[in-house]
Symmetry: C2
Subunit: 478 residues, 2 copies
């Protein structure tokens, strides 16, 4: 659509600083003339930017780039290095979070998934319905590893947009990226082995490591550039680490994106130490500025990178369709997949394959990226205004979660408990660490923006202020 | 239906010996008078018995109980005891079987699933289609353990037919029974631990044990009565076994059903030794004579029995809907399930829940049991006539697989290779053993009966005769 292109151009101009906070945008008529488009097109583009929180209308004056409350927010601090392997034990706290998620009356600020209003779930379900209605033998046969050929073909086709050109036989489909990462850990390490992980890292990775009796060595991760490679080099030299797990694009909870140079250095490093890299790329399609970043896998020469992905963040969490590109571990991954779950359900895989084949995915991604980018900014604005003085927040480059550092002394588990009493779920910091760090951190999900979530966020802010013994105004401390 | 009841009564009379091979059945008119039903009803019942291979029509004479070629077939021999723990390594041979299964042109005598013609897959898919079409948010949210409440409610309701009256909160849904058994093994044992298994046992259990770095101790299993409990007692006393895995109802590959007395003794035994029992009950609904046998779980007093089941053998293998009733291991199973696959897909669970709620399941099971019972007899007949002299075959009490002992010296891996060249898959004996036993055994699936499968069976028979250097006529050696 013309207006979408225009909106993309304008938001890029704002992001790159060509248009700054307070700047007036061209009048609708003038921009229409300049670009040779209709007035309706410009209005649609401006409306979209307004919805994304990038611009605002001043009555009788025109459109202006918004001054963001969050412009002076500080980023959370990077944890210190400590090269010791710990057995994670995050399960109890995670169980509490899951328990809350089961209750639909709870506001899910703690869960990393996008709400139904922003996903093409109707279209996907319609495809699933059509497939189920028409196929009389669907679901009868098992679909053993590597998984449904039509889905693998579509994934291979999409891999071009990741900067790879994979063959369908290089994929193994899995029950979400959760099973993919779990299989990778089992394929490359054993009980007792040490695994290098980011700090902070997604708690699912820590839970998998815990469940498999492995240990985790935490490597500091920077809120924007990701894994600290000097620290990793140290760890690889010293600790007998068996594998590295890293989310290279829009990591969870930080939203960091590693540069191409960093990715290349990372791959050369694991090659030199002959240690596999389990690369979690579930948020890769949701990096909202610039083009879709490539995974580190593009620099892989020896098949040591195991690339994991899914459609859980972009299409349908509950479909449980994920995959792994296991490189040199293809055979062992296929065997482990068979012994662990035998195969994926056919129906959900087919629906996703048809959706990918239909060509609507790229358009959906463009819209979703814009929506989430704007929404994260709106959440950051609220945090800047309402969270206690001294609060620091990540400025993610993609995805839809925020990593919030509250003033020292605020206990996020306490905050989680109080929020839950008011029907609000948040993810407390310590579950993102094997060493029980991040006591004064929380992860907040911007997956859904409704009056209910905004009100919940304000309530959390209020509780945090009370726990901190401070007034609101996070932005004032930069 | 009236005719189905009549057919059931008559087949019971044949099974119990009230009507014997060669006996003439009452004339259609007389039976209609005796039972107060229409002639059409009697004809329908007779047709069904004919299709099931139980009776035959002799022109101008009437209906007769068939003389079965398989009446004099000997059962396979029970393996000797040997109480040593072995690390299974069945994966390569299993991979070969899977590879073959992927190709739809291969005749699947090696795979334990029922063909589409005998499953209510249209009805199930229609339900799935309706659900997908109507629900605009379906598949958006994750469904974390213990899994979909509506499905667990239906399973709890069904548990009454198993002789249990479980609460929905006692279930955890899984990706088929495969994931259930895998989770159970992880919950109760660690890498290096010894697990007592049946001999022969389903290769999936051995593959899970292999993949988890555990060891297997084989306990002989009898073709009709199942696990040798004296041998198990020995093993439990001597080998430091950490868990027992057993299929108590229509085991795979034997089709054995343990008696209630044996099940009770088994549970008392594992209680005394304080060792958990992982009970595989996937074939429990497919025991075709008498009422649905109860699982050993009914005798469980301390929560040490982990009951695993699925709808993969009775409704839809490719839906991947299974469950576990983990007893005292509920919490750890939920955590492991979360870290392994996060949750089940919602859509397939909902469709199965609706199917179970609709009430058609019991009727479907009655028909399926009759169909499979008759089909297994037809396969046994063909084996009796065409397989080499000296062949022995199981006489299963349920399920749809046959365990065939070929004359000593016939290499089933060789037979598998030759059959594959002709486009036929069979499951070779050694994959059912951790100790590489059963070289002259094969498992044949009777899941589908078509001219193609019958012809394939004859070809396998011919190849087996050639490998054995013997003529056909298995039945002549009892």
């Amino acid at each position: 659509m013309l207006y979408e292109q225009l909106a993309t151009d304008l938001s890029a101009a704002i992001e790159q600083g060509a248009l700054r906070a307070g700047d007036r945008l061209p009048s609708v008529r003038r921009l229409a003339d300049d670009r040779g488009v209709s007035i309706a097109t410009v209005l649609a583009a401006y409306l979209q930017l307004e919805n994304a929180g990038l611009i605002e209308v001043r009555p009788k004056s025109g459109h202006y780039v918004r001054t963001r409350q969050s412009d002076h927010l500080a980023e959370p601090r990077v944890p210190r290095r400590r090269n010791t392997a710990f057995r994670p034990s995050v399960s109890t706290a995670v169980a509490r979070l899951l328990e809350a998620n089961r209750d639909p009356s709870i506001v899910p600020l703690g869960s990393a998934y996008v709400g139904p209003e922003d996903l093409p779930i109707r279209a996907l379900n319609r495809l699933a319905a059509g497939i189920a209605r028409e196929m009389t033998t669907l679901g009868v046969a098992y679909d053993p590893p590597p998984g449904l050929p039509t889905l693998r073909r579509q994934l291979a086709r999409r891999s071009v947009t990741w900067g790879l050109a994979l063959h369908e036989d290089e994929f193994v489909t899995t029950i979400g990226a959760t099973e993919a990462i779990h299989l990778c850990l089992r394929a490359v390490a054993r009980s007792g082995d040490a695994i290098a992980v980011e700090s902070p890292t997604y708690f699912g990775v820590l839970q998998a490591i815990e469940g498999l009796g492995m240990r985790a060595v935490e490597v500091p991760s920077h809120p924007r550039s990701g894994l600290d490679l000097d620290a990793l080099e140290d760890v690889l030299r010293g600790c007998g680490v068996r594998a590295v797990v890293a989310a290279t694009n829009a990591s969870n909870p930080l939203g960091a994106v590693m540069s191409d140079e960093a990715k290349q250095r990372l791959v050369r490093m694991i090659e030199r130490h002959d240690v596999p890299l389990i690369e979690d790329d579930v948020y890769g399609d949701l990096v909202w500025s610039g083009s879709r970043p490539r995974p580190a896998k593009v620099f892989d020469r020896g098949g040591r990178v195991l690339l994991c992905g899914s459609v859980s963040k972009t299409l349908a969490p509950g479909y449980r369709v994920g995959w792994v590109v296991p490189g040199r571990y293809q055979e062992v991954i296929e065997r482990l997949k068979f012994s662990q779950t035998l195969g994926n359900p056919t129906l959900t895989q087919m629906a996703v394959a048809e959706f990918l084949a239909s060509g609507g995915y790229d358009k959906h991604l463009r819209r979703l990226r814009r929506t989430l980018g704007g929404r994260v900014e709106q959440f950051r604005d609220i945090i800047a205004t309402e969270f206690p003085e001294g609060t620091r927040v990540s400025a993610p480059l993609g995805g839809f979660v925020l990593w919030v550092e509250l003033p020292v002394g605020v206990d996020s588990l306490e905050l989680q408990g109080r929020a839950l009493e008011r029907g609000i779920a948040i993810a407390p910091g310590p579950i993102f660490s094997a060493r029980n760090r991040f006591h004064n951190f929380v992860r907040l999900s911007c997956g859904s923006l409704t009056p209910r979530t905004v009100s919940a966020l304000s309530q959390v802010a209020e509780m945090a202020c009370r726990l901190a013994g401070r007034t609101s105004g996070a932005r004032s401390v930069a």
